[in-house]
Amino acid sequence: MLGALDWQAIVFVRAWRDPSASELIGAAAGGLAVTGALAAVVLLSVFRLWRPLWSGWLTSLDHKKIGIMYIVLSLVMLLRAVIEAALMRLHQLVAVGQGGPLSPEHFAQLFSTHGTIMIFFMAMPLLTGIINYVMPLQIGARDVSFPLLNAISLALTAAGAALVMVSLVIGRFSTGGWSGYATYTELAYSMGEGVDYWIWAVTLSSLGSTLSGLNFAVTIYKKRCPGMTLFRMPLFCWTTLCTSILMIFAMAPLTAATVMLALDRYAGFHFFTNDAGGNMMNYANLFWLFGHPEVYILILPAFGVYSEVFATFSGKTLYGYRALVFATMCIAVLSFTVWLHHFFTMGQSANINAVFGIATMTIGIPTGVKVYEWLMTMVRGRIRLTTPMLFAVTFLVTFVLGGLTGILLANPTIDFSVHNSLFLVAHFHNMLIPGLLFGMIAAVQVWFPKAFGFRLHEGWGVAGFVCWVAGFYLAFMPLYALGLMGAMRRTSQWARPEYGPWLAVALLGAVLVLGGVFCLAMQLFVSIRRRKELAVPVGDPWDGRTLEWACPAPPPEWNFTVIPKVASGDAFTVMKREGRAYEMPDDIEDIEMPANSAVAPVICVASVATGFAVTWHIWWLAVLGLAAGWGAVIARSFVLDTKRRIPAATLRASHAAWLDRLRRTVPVSRAGETDPRNDGLAEHGA
């Protein structure tokens, strides 16, 4: 009835029977997860928020709400994964020359969940959420092309994240790292449920990302407003397009690899086994066929954000727009040609290594072009060093540093000596933290006022910036040194005392990063408290250049009263300059918006149930879950009335109220950008 599941699987029972430090830490983590979930349930019940949550959020097909839910999901997962990172550093420091608090298996679970969460359940949802919120607004659309599919993508991603969270309480997670290399992850070496949790969580997330990519790409191709040619799109939309194309094509190899691994484990196939003609090297090949484009899926959206930030906060048009577009496209295509550099040491001939090494270095060229263009955008601009710009400028310096170590690693001969060492760990954190996380935090700072109608508190933003940047440098620069000293990644303890000081500095960095997360939370808390004075109802707090600033903050469900028409890039700047930004349109019509649907929540629950059931071999539940999910899809296809009509009068009233608020608002110069005076109306020619 319950497959392989028994009481022993529950983390609290394990800790009761074997109260070692490692199990107790596991139980504490499980307790935190359970407490968090219970607290959410209690709060929702006490404040009677279940109904608003259901009808306002979970069943909503509004791209803005879906985007926000993605971001909330990713921030929760970020918190867990950062805590895990700090715990690992603490353990490693304590464990120098002796046993640390964590068992080796527990340590291995930690680095596996840390990596899996950071890539699939922090980074991907965060960038997908930002894209979801911003991109349709930037191209002047009311929604994405397929709103229900959008909700289903979120449902699948959330289901994967839920599986990882469940593994904290019931059973154990994989010890195979985020890349889950076979043959280690084959049944012969990794018995039990851990790898299965990993397989199904990652597979769900990868399906969700494929569908997101499809949705975004079609939206950009087919839903741009009149006059918005591809080359008039904001650069963020271009990087979104390239990221979407990568998602469409690069997730398939991952799905294939995880399905093959599952077949090996569940049905005794021989794709990656040691015996009977299996080829474990094909696993690495397939995984990195996905994994390398994935790097650019993660980084390109941040490039787009930085492009918007540099232009907006320098008060200038982006320098070299076309070159930036072509550089982005080059990076996207080249990203499919370099995957072998992740396994230079696997034994293929030197010629192949050389080809892929050269291809890898080639990517530095378009990336370098971008760096120069961001610099040139700032030249002679009126730069405002507020939080997003601080992150952007720091990104430039830090990212170039990480890129330089990447050029080192692209050389196979050098890679051989530092392969899988902490040098590599330092390198990819040095790329992804500035190249993804800082960008996304900057994006949150920039677009939060658009989404909620009030700015984020600047002081806490700067404090967070200081923590993040100092924390990053302290946490990861020592790893370069440790890597060169011979410390390998994923090692739970070393006997060499000279590692101690470096690890201590790295731990301090990890704690500072935790402080950065705390500052973000405080920033949110303080901003909500002071939302009146931070309010920007008119909707243009940063003297924005693109269409998303041309509507109120928060925007109405339908985004634009009438679909805008544009005739150039930087569309909103031109509208403001020509005095057309805030007019009462005379051609307001009834519109149709997608009506709420319960299909996505049903699919989410069904996916969690199926994933959990398959992990624990509870076959009846797996069948039930699959039937429920697909049944919901088929049942939905019999529903024809999927739209909700919004009369023109509603639109007109909403627009008039906004214009009325606008007339009572005093425009603010850029000097007053972070003052309470800033109500979201930018001064002319400021």
């Binding site: 191709y221 194309i245 094509f249 190899p253 080829n279 090297m281 094909n282 090949n285 397939l286 066929l289 295509v333 499919f336 040609t337 995957w339 072998l340 696997m346 034994g347 293929q348 001939s349 192949i352």
Partner: protein
């Protein structure tokens, strides 16, 4: 096809018949290419690496035929988005399949 619906301009009248002929052309060409491939193997006209080339070319021809006559992909301007999509997919597929085979066969020879 005499029962064409009302309201179609005279010049468009033979379109159903024309499109029908397109499907027939596609079907016949596909059938011919299929039989050629099976025939070449059944009659032992090809073998070894040469067979891979001949059969591969026949398959490619049939894929082009089906895209052209069943999926109606051609060089018209209104189809450019889709044609670009398909060609880009072909590029990615080529990179992935070619790269995989190159890498794994090379590794195999060195084991």
């Amino acid at each position: 096809m005499t029962d064409r619906p009302e309201g179609i301009p005279e010049s468009e009248a033979d379109r159903p018949a024309r499109e029908f002929r397109r499907y027939v052309t596609g079907g016949v060409l596909s059938l011919a290419l299929t039989l050629a491939a099976f025939g070449a193997v059944a009659l032992r006209l090809v073998a070894g690496q040469g067979a891979l080339v001949v059969l591969g070319l026949l398959a490619l021809a049939q894929i082009v035929v089906q895209f052209r006559y069943f999926l109606h992909i051609d060089l018209q301007k209104s189809h450019r988005d889709d044609l670009q999509l398909i060609l880009f997919t072909a590029l990615i597929v080529g990179l992935m399949v070619g790269g995989t085979i190159w890498i794994l066969f090379d590794q195999h020879t060195r084991m």
